[in-house]
Subunit: 738 residues, 2 copies
């Protein structure tokens, strides 16, 4: 029923909307109009035109200004109507109050994209007009980038339609940024670091075009080898996850997500108008998508540059070559931090390096050439490493020393790289005074990956390996729940939900939740609902002793506190006593409580308690949580999150990610627990939430897990429905009910 209704409304909506223009025309516009082109050099409307012209944009340029005339040698049009022919991209830089009219004026010119630079919309609370503009644009076949942005640079056109610095180097890194100021500064920074960009796009308020739209273009764009994003909040995370999963097996995505801290999240929310979600959820879901997360901008820039320039490794064996033990040890620490595997086959190492390493040096990893090492010693060792198939990447280090000519060394590396022989991944770190710093400053922009700090160097190689492993162990790209056989009985579950809705509740009674679990094929204790003592006895005898009894009342949420739970009932007499005690206690606890009955359940054997939760997240839609029971979740916060849908393999990643995972593998001589059983329930709970849009939260707590092969059992399931006035479907339904 639900499904039909929503599908119908989608169809209706789709009919009223024209087709969306191809994003190709945003990145490769054949013509650009600039509404707000200015004659004044210090105005943004002048600067953008200057950038378009100086970027050697080959298409048609239409500056628009009611004064007409000429700017930077370009004829100025007084209105858009004067322009003949279609316009692919219109950039708007006029004050906010005139923007809507300008957008309207575009509707007859075949305009495909609007890049609205102007600020003063939802970021300062003015959301209404922003929405109207987007609706109008969409209804007329146009899409909106921004507002509150600096524009777009695309190397493919080429065009620099931003008010940032003019001299952008073309290359293979694409940058998407939610912050305009940071983005403009980043353009400058990439210039200093000599990083080539395939595009940089400011997405600002994301009123229409968001990261996902742009990523759909970038995944197909051959020129883009690495994607870097600065984001503060995620809207429509389901789509975002879907597209990320498609991209990362093809090209690396590096994300800086600010608002990690609670305070940061508040600051982010206040300045972009989008909600920054729980940082742990974000982190886990990025991991799930194979996205690499950077903490600082510098990290993101270093990593993007390195991934764009370095060859991929062919294996995990890394070696350190150094002229100092101290810096070698620091690099070893850094390798552990950034997950770089140091090769430790001493026999092979000796074979490879015996001719290269001087007396008193060490052929163990780190290979220590000693403080007396000359360029030639490094050269010999590096050549040995480059030429041996057992070695896959190199960390080349040193302290400034009189004996070592680092300039020669850096030139040697530069030649090795530019000889276009595909050399192995290498990072360099040299530490010292003015001479070393000067050489690093000279060679770094020549794209030699040399850093003064060892940790920075190793972090780059670690990121290359993160990407390597993403490609090896494929991220989970499924975007539909798994096979039909595991699917739950949809109609029966809908019936229960409808019953609850009719009963004007937005929560399910425990026995209803358990029924849904059962329908989904999740093992639950045998249970019955008794309305009087006789029924309770009959239930208990059918179930078999020992049993548990619990009050069922919409007015009593904390059953134990009310004295509404009795465990370990071994016979008829105890059931009778328990029934009377529960009714008595609950009446005393709340004389007005409506009592639906008493639930009688099998008393499950004890085991390892786990918790599985699922909910509709504001950012990411359906997400699933897993953790070990009770204290591990509550005190140790030892939980893992994933966006649903995902495969069993990903569910397994999720389970093995938690710190208390060894408890499931079995500690202290205990046997391994039924992890397969847990994975089953994780996937099923995800499916229930995914399939039934009326459900907002499911918490299976505890899910008792037995030894491997002996299964799991859901002891309690708390299910909450979406609030009717919060969900469109809910609204539709209430109207129907009237």
């Amino acid at each position: 029923m639900t499904n039909i209704k929503t599908k119908v409304s989608k169809v209706i909506q789709a009919k009223t909307m024209p087709d969306k223009p191809d994003l190709k025309y945003l990145f490769e516009p054949r013509s650009i109009a600039l509404i707000g082109a200015s004659h004044h050099e210090d105005k943004i409307g002048y600067k953008i035109l200057g950038n378009i012209v100086s970027s050697k944009y080959p298409g048609k340029i239409y500056p628009i200004n009611p004064d007409g005339g000429e700017i930077l040698g370009q004829k100025v049009y007084k209105t858009i109507d004067e322009i003949k022919g279609e316009i692919d991209l219109v950039t708007i830089v006029i004050p906010a109050q005139y923007v809507f009219d300008a957008v309207k004026s575009c509707s007859n010119k075949g305009v495909k994209f609007l890049s609205i630079i102007t600020s003063g919309f939802s970021e300062i609370g003015n959301s209404q007009q922003e929405k109207e503009i987007v609706n109008y644009a969409n209804e007329h076949g146009m899409r909106v980038l921004g507002p509150n942005i600096f524009g777009i640079y695309s190397a493919r056109a080429p065009v620099n339609a931003t008010f940032g610095p003019p001299d952008i180097k073309s290359g293979s890194v694409a940058i998407l940024t939610q912050s305009g100021a940071l983005g403009i500064a980043m353009i400058g920074k990439t210039r200093v670091e000599n990083i080539g960009l395939s595009s940089i796009i400011s997405i600002g308020n994301k009123s229409d075009i968001d990261e996902s739209d742009l990523l759909e273009y970038l995944v197909m764009d051959d020129a883009t080898k690495v994607i870097m994003m600065y984001i503060e909040g995620v809207k429509n995370g389901e789509r975002f996850v879907r597209i990320l999963k498609q991209i990362t097996p093809k090209k690396p995505v590096i994300v800086i997500k600010s608002g990690r801290s609670k305070k940061g999240a508040t600051a982010a929310a206040s300045h972009t108008g989008s909600l920054a979600g729980d940082d742990n959820i974000f982190s886990d879901i990025m991991k799930q998508c194979g996205v690499i997360r950077a903490e600082s901008i510098q990290e993101a820039i270093d990593w993007s540059k390195y991934l764009a320039l370095s060859n991929p490794p062919k294996g995990e064996n890394s070696i350190i070559i150094t002229n100092g033990g101290g810096i070698g040890v620091l690099a070893t620490d850094a390798c552990e931090k950034y997950n770089v595997t140091l090769y430790d086959d001493l026999e092979t190492m000796k074979k490879i390096f015996s001719d290269a390493v001087p007396e008193f040096g060490s052929m163990k990893n780190p290979i220590d050439l000693t403080g007396q090492a000359k360029f030639e010693d490094y050269q010999r060792s590096l050549n040995a490493a480059f030429n041996d198939d057992d070695i896959h990447s190199v960390i080349c280090l040193g302290c400034e020393a009189a004996a070592l000519d680092t300039e020669k060394l850096f030139t040697f590396i530069e030649e090795a790289i530019s000889n276009s022989k595909p050399i192995k991944p290498i990072v360099l770190s040299f530490f010292g005074g003015a001479r070393t710093e000067k050489e690093i400053a000279f060679y770094k922009p020549r794209n030699i990956p040399v850093f003064s700090d060892v940790y920075e160097a190793v972090s780059c190689l670690g990121t290359l390996y993160k990407n390597y492993r993403n490609l090896q162990y494929r991220v989970d790209t499924i975007d539909q729940p798994a096979s039909a056989e595991t699917k739950s009985d949809t109609v029966l579950i809908e019936n229960i939900i409808n019953k609850v809705r009719l009963d004007k509740r937005n929560f399910l009674f425990s026995y209803e939740g358990m029924e849904i679990m059962k329908m989904a094929g999740i093992a639950v204790p045998r249970t019955g609902l008794a309305h009087n003592i006789e029924e309770a006895i009959r239930c208990a005898e059918e179930i078999k002793y020992p049993v548990v009894m619990k009050i069922v009342s919409r007015d009593i949420l904390h059953k134990s506190d009310a004295g509404g739970v009795v465990l370990h009932l071994d016979n008829k007499e105890e059931v009778i006593d328990a029934y009377q005690a529960i009714i008595h206690n609950c009446r005393r606890y709340n004389p007005y409580a409506r009592i639906e009955g008493i639930e009688v359940s099998e008393m499950a054997a004890s085991g390892t308690e786990t918790i599985i939760g699922a909910r509709r997240d504001g950012s990411f839609g359906p997400i699933v949580m897993f953790g070990l029971g009770g204290i591990y979740v509550e005190v140790m916060k030892d939980v893992a999150f994933r966006a649903f849908p995902f495969s069993r393999k990903e569910a397994n990643n999720m389970v093995s990610q938690i710190k208390s995972y060894p408890l499931l593998l079995g500690v202290r001589g205990e046997k391994r627990k039924d992890i397969d059983g847990i994975i089953d329930v994780i996937v099923k709970v995800g499916e229930i939430l995914y399939e039934h849009k009326d459900i907002s939260d499911i918490e299976v707590n505890p899910l008792i897990t037995y030894e491997e092969g002996k299964g799991v059992k859901a002891i309690d399931a708390r299910i909450i429905l979406t609030r009717l006035n919060e969900s469109q479907f809910g609204q539709a339904k209430t109207e129907e009910e009237k």
Copy 2:
């Protein structure tokens, strides 16, 4: 007995050794001889002389070389005997095989310190000669720095007796380094960063003089404001801890400890010959001592420089001033990471900044001056912050923007600092292209704390606050176990240990361990040792039912596996059955097991299980460990370490440091646990180990902890003695026993 013996031997040793020379003469030598002065410019023996001369050393300089002549205008002596008058410091740079003879030649010249540059001693396995040299030197009133070092620079002399770069800037940072190559590179780096040094000393193999010796001088040295150390392994950690605790309440100590990773630890061990201990122990003990630990060298350098130059804060309220929301959010995240407290009294903020913040800006922290902010907006806001007593430190940020003249801003900050008005602590971070990078490169060496990366800037302020808090909440400086009243009964404990030694065991039986606990005033279950069924029944009846029974046998370590433990015995019959079953099981398990009897104990009520351990650590001497029982220690590795002795306050820090601490505070409506009781036992267990040198390990597991006021109970105590052939005292005793 023990104490008397060791005291006596110390006295004897002290009598044979002359007084140690005052370290003053290492840092402020009145005369320096250089054995191995060279006529060849590319020799170290030339370079050091050059550095001594060019550093304008005002004392007497005696180059020594059998060829005689003159080097760099200095008369060269053929032998040390030619020199008239005393020599405070002799630097030795001749090949290893001649060093001992050179040291011997120093013994008649009143030499106080030997700086042995030469390598080829314990670092390559040649420990024997190194020891002989040190013994000879010490016996003749000389102390040895090195060998395997680059020398010493001291601003106080001034003298640069190193073979590092010549131009060291004098200032207030002292550097101690175990790695020579890193140290020399650091000299260069400090010059680039314009950091002034009070001294830099290479400690190399630490054959005699170690960090602790040098720290004893540096704590008194008024010129030294900040101490930075690079260490790979700790020897004689007890003394190190003692001196660190004295220093950090006076001046900050920043440590880079390499060998964090397992692999790094191996690498460190192979290259310096000193053992790198467990990194968690090191980390926790540094925390205990108020030492600030850096991960990378760059961090350590940035932090040292900032602490040396910045005024101390007067409180915790920090504000962020920015021209961009994005970078402001990143800084907020960084503040959470580095524990910088953002001021959030919006009312006061509005009062302070209402005149300074432009329209559309934000007066909430981060204060957002918007992308249009000019220098004057920053100036107004900064002045407002500087002049208001509610604000204690400032993070000033920005993205490169056309409107903002950062050069003016940096000059303004420079003037504010150099006006010697004590301005509030401030850090700056500006992000952008060539212009910004150039200005940062210009102003940073002028000692404006400006960084391109936000995290780097905030980490400096965070370190300043770490030090501020160390000064506020005083590190625990006690170096003796607490008051006499809590002291355990030393003689009785010694008696038990002697009995175990006589019995040729190096472990205590559980009941012996428990007896020691009792003597130390730790609550234990009532226990008796039974040798037959009648005794077992008598014990059980004295103790009162229920009881627990356990086998006591030196040949059965895993009692449960042997079927040697029975719990929950409620009456005489059960005791009889259990006795027979235990004997039967254990005989089957190991027919040759010597059975000393069966322990009968009170069955303690259940509670929260904790573990307290103490052992003699190879690096730090007596250390104490605390964690929650079982899985928390084994799987989650959730433990805290401290070097003993420490105060109850520090024991409390230790307990509250673990992640599972909320379990002791009471979760899910449980009451707070008896944390005072835990602290009692931590301190007592530390004392037992500290007082009784024969004990190498104590593990109280579990220590059951009840509700607050209801105490704790040690259920089992495993005590291991030092191996006799491993401890000097042990050897003495075995000889005595013969």
